[in-house]
């Protein structure tokens, strides 16, 4: 289990993950907030291939989640906002307008 090391300062921000409400502090990344809440599976590459945050620096693209209806957001690079709706990605979602998926 991930846990806070020190007494957490104010956590005034509430985000929604699936059916769960999660509290977070200013400046927290979505990945840190979810991990602290005990969530490890952020997406499923296939039904048998769960993934979660791996590099935490925007390199590996394994922590992709859906944020406010937009798929393929990097949870480790996104700062929480009050009322944010975060959802697990159940399969790789082909984001059509994306030009960055390789050459």
């Amino acid at each position: 289990m991930f846990r806070p090391i020190t007494q957490q300062p104010d956590q005034p921000i509430k985000i929604q993950f699936e059916s769960q409400t999660i509290r977070a502090g200013h400046g927290d990344t979505v990945a840190a907030a979810l991990l602290r809440a005990g969530i490890l599976q952020f997406r499923y590459a296939t039904a048998q291939d769960p993934r979660g945050p791996f590099c935490m620096m925007g390199t590996c693209f394994d922590c992709l989640v859906e944020i406010d209806g937009k798929p393929n957001r990097q949870a480790c690079q996104t700062i929480v906002r009050d009322g944010m709706l975060v959802r697990r990605q159940l399969a790789p979602i082909a984001e059509k307008p994306d030009t960055g998926s390789g050459s």
């Binding site: 991930f2 990344t29 840190a32 979660g52 590099c55 620096m57 984001e95 030009t99 960055g100 998926s101």
Partner: protein, 463 residues
């Protein structure tokens, strides 16, 4: 829309980029600093801005030493863009950036790329399971969010592994075990090196103190082999062989992997700069001169992105690169003494201290390659060792052809996680060198860009 113009654009706000931007702006050059993180500091000083006040002791002195640089930056009078992602540098030195959901183009006379390092991939069986992270990732959580895992197992080698395990212990997080793929052998080898004794005594002392902390507080096993992480929906255990061959299993929900860092070359490669295969450090690095100038005379590389030498050397190289540009823009005689000394020190760190660093960072071949057929090599496209072996049977000749055969390297990370693994598998199969085998052809955009972001650009797609 008029394109913004700068004399110097610096990409990356770690020690190299910060020092470069500060130096250029102080000399009166119009300077833009672009960084993809919410705050300055790069990976090494991640979270330092917010940790400064409370200064939790478990993070250690060398982390807080970065405060000096951060405070100097408070006088930076250039332009600083945070949370801004560079996805292309064009042939006429336009930089394409995404920021606040919009794409922007910036004209820069000179560019300093200071995008640092990434962790060397370590394709252990089960490395894609949730609960498995890089040690760098675990450390980022610790620095940026004061979050850590209990009863984690640290696996691999290198200073960052020992440092982070020691930070965990000092933070009061029980560490289940440290499984060292090399062992203290590497430290002893480094310690016997002459350059080491002259040049890096504090580094050695630090390393030994981290190891002492680890040995005092957790199970430390050196020379482990045949690693396997098991679990269904998340990691539940790691198995390993000891040096003497006995098999052991440790139950754990958290495995942190690390075997050194390599230059982050995606932007420099996509920009078409010359690169060379570094046999000793087993990585690609851009070709640069002593000032950091790349094969494109308007583009400099500072910091670990030009070759791994650590935070102090990175800061120095930022000053040296900025000084070289200042001298080209305003020829005002020779460089200040500090910069000349810096250049010399830098050459020494990259030259004389190299053997020491190389011994310390050296990754073992057994952990650079996947062992089991089911191990995922390309994390983005879930391409296994079996898939790649099959493609190799189809007479694939190089990494780019392999992409087309099995999609390895086609995903969002653009080969950052699998590039070296795939390259080495091909090299071994073809019995050719890594240099002969070559790397993926990396093309812009180096980070995904959406059409909506592109649509916000007034002009045409940058070319």
């Amino acid at each position: 829309m008029t394109t913004q113009q700068y004399q110097v654009a610096v990409i990356g706000a770690g020690p190299a980029g910060l020092r470069a931007a500060i130096t250029a702006a102080k000399a009166g050059l119009t300077t833009l600093l672009i960084d993809d993180q919410p705050a300055i500091g790069g990976q090494i000083y991640r979270g330092l801005v917010q940790n400064k006040a409370a200064a939790p002791a478990y993070l250690g002195n060398s982390y807080f030493a970065g405060i000096r640089l951060l405070e100097t930056f408070s006088q930076f009078d250039g332009v600083y863009w945070s949370q801004s992602t560079v996805w292309q540098i064009t042939s006429d030195h336009q930089i394409a950036i995404t920021r606040d959901g919009r794409a922007e183009l910036v004209d820069a006379e000179h560019i300093i790329i200071a995008t640092g390092a990434i962790e060397r991939p370590m394709p252990v069986d089960g490395w894609t399971l949730p609960g498995v992270m890089t040690v760098g990732g675990a450390q980022t959580l610790l620095k940026q969010a004061a979050v850590g895992a209990e009863h984690a197992v640290f696996v691999g080698t290198g200073p960052l592994l020992y440092l982070t395990a020691a930070q965990y212990i000092r933070a009061g997080l029980p560490v289940r075990a440290v499984l060292d793929t090399v062992g203290p052998k590497a430290w002893r080898a480094a310690a016997t090196h002459a350059a080491m004794a002259l040049m890096q005594p504090t580094m050695l002392a630090k390393g030994l103190s981290w190891l002492a902390t680890i040995r005092r507080h957790t199970q430390y096993v050196a020379g482990v082999k045949a690693l396997h992480i098991s679990g269904d929906d998340a990691a539940t255990a790691i198995s390993y062989n000891t040096a003497t061959g006995s098999r052991h299993t440790i139950d754990t929900e958290h495995v942190f992997l690390h075997q050194g860092v390599i230059p982050n070359i995606n932007l420099t490669m996509a920009t078409g700069l010359d690169h060379v295969w570094d046999r000793v450090n087993h990585c690609w690095r851009p070709v640069i001169d002593k000032t950091g100038r790349s094969s494109n005379p308007a583009i400099y590389i500072a910091g670990d992105g030009g070759g791994i030498a650590g935070g102090a050397a990175a800061e120095l190289s930022g000053a040296v690169a900025a000084d070289a540009i200042i001298r080209r823009v305003k020829p005002v005689g020779s460089s200040p003494l500090m910069v000349r000394l810096g250049q010399r020190l830098l050459r020494w760190q990259r030259g004389a201290a190299r053997p020491f660093l190389d011994r310390l960072y050296h990754p073992d071949a057994a952990f650079r390659l996947p062992s089991s057929n089911d191990t995922i090599v390309c994390r983005c496209e879930s391409v296994t060792k079996r898939d790649i072996t099959a493609a190799l049977g189809d007479a694939v000749t190089g990494p780019n052809q392999l992409k087309a055969f099995c999609r390895a390297g086609m995903g969002r990370c653009q080969g950052r996680s699998c590039g070296l693994i795939v390259q080495e598998m091909i090299a071994n199969d073809r019995q050719q060198t890594m240099a002969e085998t070559g790397y993926y052809r990396v093309r812009p955009p180096v980070k995904p860009v959406t059409l909506a972001e592109l649509a916000s650009l007034d002009g045409p797609w940058p070319g």
